[in-house]
């Protein structure tokens, strides 16, 4: 049996800093706003694969553009375009130096405020190493509540997720108006496989018609308040 204990998934980690930043920044706004974080993982049978993460704030680009003109809001520093580019370049450089990670691509579109990053990974372990590196780089604890496992023998894919009440606590400190900004914010996770999916344990997750993908879309507020759980066990047909 080649069951591997998987480390936290790096893509979530990678975006954490910017998600938090944008959430914090957006939380300063009085009216509702929206943004989407879309994660797409293409898993191969041998445990290698590719990921692509996209943070799309184009629907709120006017607001983001006005925020970017400020140096700080409510004590939170707003990074300049140059800073974001520099940070992204540093992160990409780290990724490229991570064993098992290749084909790292990124794009920062400051016209529409869409950021994308993608890479190939040789194994989930490689991704986990990369996650660790970034976790250290961005000084984050996300690895403590989110991780993946992949069992090559049983062809099962598992996501472990533990809700962190501290996030909800911080969220509850925001005013009701500020919390509204998350009303239209979503997190979307798509995991694709070469083999058909036999089952998915998450009740909200949907299996594609061709049974080769699992789709999960949750409201950001449900994630923050602990209403939604991302834990899922996907079993593939052998």
């Amino acid at each position: 049996m080649t069951r591997q204990r998987q480390h936290p998934i790096s893509r979530v980690k990678f975006w954490k800093k910017y998600i938090l930043l944008f959430c914090a920044v957006l939380s300063c706004m009085a009216l509702s706003s929206c943004f989407d974080l879309v994660e797409q993982v293409d898993m191969k049978t041998d445990g290698s694969g590719a990921i692509k993460a996209t943070l799309n704030m184009s629907k709120s680009r006017s607001k983001v553009a006005s925020l970017m003109k400020l140096k700080s809001v409510n004590g939170i520093n707003i990074p300049s375009e140059a800073t974001i580019k520099k940070e992204m370049e540093t992160a990409v450089k780290l990724l490229r130096n991570t064993t098992g990670i290749s084909n790292v691509q990124y794009n920062l579109d400051f016209n529409n405020y869409i950021a994308t990053i993608s890479c190939d990974f040789q194994s989930i372990n490689a991704l986990n190493d990369f996650t660790k590196t970034l976790s250290k780089q961005f000084n984050s604890q996300i690895t403590s509540y989110n991780s993946y496992e992949f069992n090559n023998n049983t062809q099962s894919f598992k996501r472990n997720y533990t809700y962190m009440p501290s996030i909800g606590k911080e969220f509850s400190k925001l005013s009701a108006e500020d919390r509204k900004i998350f009303d239209e914010a979503y997190y979307t996770n798509i995991v694709r496989f070469n083999s058909p999916v036999k089952s998915s344990s998450h009740q909200e997750a949907k299996i594609a018609s061709n049974r080769k993908a699992v789709f999960l879309k949750v409201k950001a507020t449900d994630l923050i308040t602990g209403k939604a759980n991302l834990s899922n066990q996907i079993t593939l047909t052998k």
């Binding site: 009085a30 061709n210 789709f215």
Partner: protein, 673 residues
């Protein structure tokens, strides 16, 4: 005899009563170059002692007064100042020293010495006034039944940088200071000739005595204090103290011995510190002697500013405080690094002359409006130059295009033709005197301008009158990127649209000759940078901005980002505001900025502009305010004037009351944070 006695007594009493109630303006010396007048009756007519006390308490004024000046009060009425009369603060300057005088009216039977100056030393009375001196000998006080006079100041240290003056007073100049040119050396030389009189010679004798005394003081200070402290310092230092080598990086092998002569550095540094301390001791001693010498003449000045109508506030019930400046150019120059520019670049900045003369700044309370108004006198030459620049009139046709709903507007009216014509004169006048080298370059530059530019032709392109309205917000459709998923959850990127609110503006100016603009725009059309549809030019939107539309109508150019509005101008169906007062106001000033403050929260909300948490309350409060205005009037009677004003919410008795309440609340908020 008895009758004579009673008549004399009656006259004395009457005179005494008169002098008791009189304004203390007569105590401002004629050589004051800055006077701040506090119109106490007006201040306390528009506010209450309770409000002022509360505000001062929250701002920690009382506690800092207690710490600094040994005054222990919690209510301004605990100091026996007569708040029914004006108080004054003035500053007078000479080359060597500047003095500050504070003139406070006192209540009858006051106990001022019990309230302030408690620990000061008594001096002999003079001219009917009791006198005291502070413990550091840097402040003097004199009082009688009627008033308190506080007198202090400081030395102008740069005065002593001149080698002749330094030598006279025993100041030790460092080598780099010796050559530093002192800008008013020539003036001093003339002054010596003018004052070569018996009084002056007597004064010199006094000065010599003062110098001797000052040098003695410095020597004493040097021997007793400096040497002692230096010795103590070195003695106290443990040279044999062992250094823990672990604290240092062993790889750090800097060659201290060859690159840094510590003995040289220590001795040079110490010598410099000694020299500075020695000079300071002389200067301090001189200042104390000058302060004491001049005290009496400032207490009862032989000539005063009581006839100066610009300082008088009698009957001006709306002016709370007035600042009068004798020569604004002098004040401006006092902030410039004259010595550095003169010695380093050869620019005689002291010759800089904008032609500003006296200036008055008033803090005015007018009902629910607070104003800061200013009026600056100009010399004849500058007045004539600026008069022509500000003389033209606005295009009256602008009144047909005043948007009904707008957040604010800005106007500017400068006569372009006169401006270009006067530019060489202005540059020569303002900067020409600074250096011969600059004057030559300036001449060439200005002659080039005269030859190159045809001011008449340029003024036809843009006359110089501008009106800009920030309109209401408008709805626009914006595109954004979204994702659509098929049944296999493969997604594709799609473009969707949403409605957003954006602010729009309308800028209009007069142009009789529009060929240049049109040629540039047509070139842009050919290059694909803009389009021309229905007689309206559209400048394509740059990143994260909106498209801008330009339309030419008669002798006017309209620029805006609201296409329907520009189109309505073209189609002659623009709905202009019917507010005649507004239309009159538009053209009343050379330049103006008016913001309808009460509309700001609503507009910010609709624009979804982020508000910093600490500003939330302030922004919400703006909804209760009236207009905020900044205006600059043209030249009238040799003066240029301007005004900043804000209409406060009508929740309190008046604007001052509201302001005091706001300061108090803000202070409370900070305390609670």
């Amino acid at each position: 005899m008895q009758l004579k006695y009673y008549i004399l007594l009656s006259i004395s009493l009457f005179t005494g009563l008169l002098s008791f109630g009189q304004d203390l303006i007569t105590r401002i010396p004629a050589n004051a170059d800055l006077v701040v007048s506090f119109n106490n009756p007006a201040i306390f007519k528009h506010s209450t002692f309770e409000d002022v006390n509360e505000m001062l308490q929250h701002l920690d004024v009382f506690s800092s007064m207690n710490a600094d000046r040994e005054i222990d009060i919690k209510d301004i009425r605990e100091i026996d100042i007569d708040y029914s009369r004006n108080a004054y603060i003035y500053k007078s300057s000479s080359d060597s020293v500047h003095y500050i005088g504070v003139i406070l009216p006192l209540r009858k039977d006051h106990q001022i010495t019990q309230q302030i100056m408690r620990k000061w030393t008594d001096l002999s009375p003079s001219q009917g006034y009791q006198r005291r001196i502070s413990s550091d000998n840097k402040m003097l006080g004199a009082w009688n039944d009627n008033m308190l006079f506080l007198f202090f100041g400081d030395i102008n240290t740069f005065y002593f940088k001149n080698s002749a003056i330094a030598e006279r007073y025993g100041i030790q100049l460092s080598p780099y200071e010796v050559d530093a040119a002192y800008p008013w050396t020539e003036t001093d030389a003339y002054a010596y000739e003018d004052y070569a009189t018996a009084d002056y010679i007597e004064g010199i004798a006094d000065s010599v005595a003062m110098v001797e005394s000052a040098v003695d003081t410095a020597e004493e200070f040097y021997q007793d204090t400096l040497r002692d402290s230096v010795d103590t310092y070195w003695e106290g230092y443990d040279f044999d103290m062992e250094v823990d080598s672990a604290d240092y990086d062993s790889d750090f092998n800097y060659d201290w011995e060859s690159t840094y002569d510590s003995a040289y550095s220590d001795s040079t540094y110490q010598a410099e510190q000694d020299r500075i301390a020695y000079n300071k001791a002389i200067q301090d001693s001189l200042f104390q002697q000058w302060l004491l010498r001049d005290f009496d003449s400032y207490l009862l000045p032989a000539q005063n500013l009581s006839k100066n109508k610009q300082i008088q506030l009698k009957g001006k019930n709306t002016i709370l405080t007035r600042v009068w400046i004798k020569d604004l150019d002098d004040v401006y120059k006092s902030f410039l690094p004259l010595d550095a520019f003169t010695s380093s670049y050869g620019f005689a900045l002291s010759n800089l002359n904008y032609g500003y003369q006296d200036a008055i700044f008033d803090f005015v309370q007018d009902g629910h409006t607070l104003k800061l108004s200013s009026s600056i006198g100009l010399d004849k030459e500058v007045e004539n130059m600026l008069k022509s620049v500000y003389s033209s009139k606005y295009n009256r046709k602008f009144t047909n295009y005043v948007p009904e709903n707008h957040l604010g507007y800005m106007t500017l009216n400068v006569n372009t033709e006169a401006f270009i014509k006067q530019l060489p004169n202005m540059m020569n006048r303002w900067y020409g005197g600074m250096s011969y080298g600059i004057l030559d370059v300036m001449d060439i530059l200005m002659t080039s301008i005269e030859i190159t530019f045809d001011e008449k032709a340029i003024s036809k392109v843009m006359r110089g009158d501008h009106v800009l309205f920030v309109n209401d917000v408008q709805k626009i459709t914006r595109e954004y990127t979204d994702y659509e998923y098929d049944e296999n959850y493969d997604y594709k990127v799609v473009t969707k649209t949403k409605e957003e609110q954006v602010p729009n503006f309308l800028w209009m100016f007069t142009s009789e000759d529009q060929r240049l603009f049109k040629q540039i725009l047509n070139y842009g059309v050919r290059k694909g940078e803009c389009t021309f549809i229905g007689d309206i030019y559209k400048l394509e939107a740059a990143r994260n901005t909106d498209s801008v539309y330009i339309y030419f109508k008669d002798d006017m150019v309209f620029v805006g980002n609201n296409l329907p509005q520009i189109a309505s101008i073209r189609d002659n169906n623009f709905r202009s505001s019917g507010d005649s007062k507004l239309k009159k106001e538009l053209f009343a000033n050379t330049a103006s900025l008016v913001v309808h403050t009460q509309r700001i929260p609503e507009v910010l909300r609709s624009l979804e502009v982020p508000i910093i948490k600490s500003w939330n309350r302030t922004v919400q409060n703006l909804g209760k305010y009236g207009d905020m205005q900044a205006k600059m009037q043209g030249i009238r009677k040799g003066r240029i004037s301007g005004e900043l004003s804000l209409d406060f919410p009508q929740e309190e008795k008046n604007a001052l009351g509201y302001l005091l309440k706001q300061i108090k609340e803000q202070a409370e908020e900070s305390e609670n944070r």
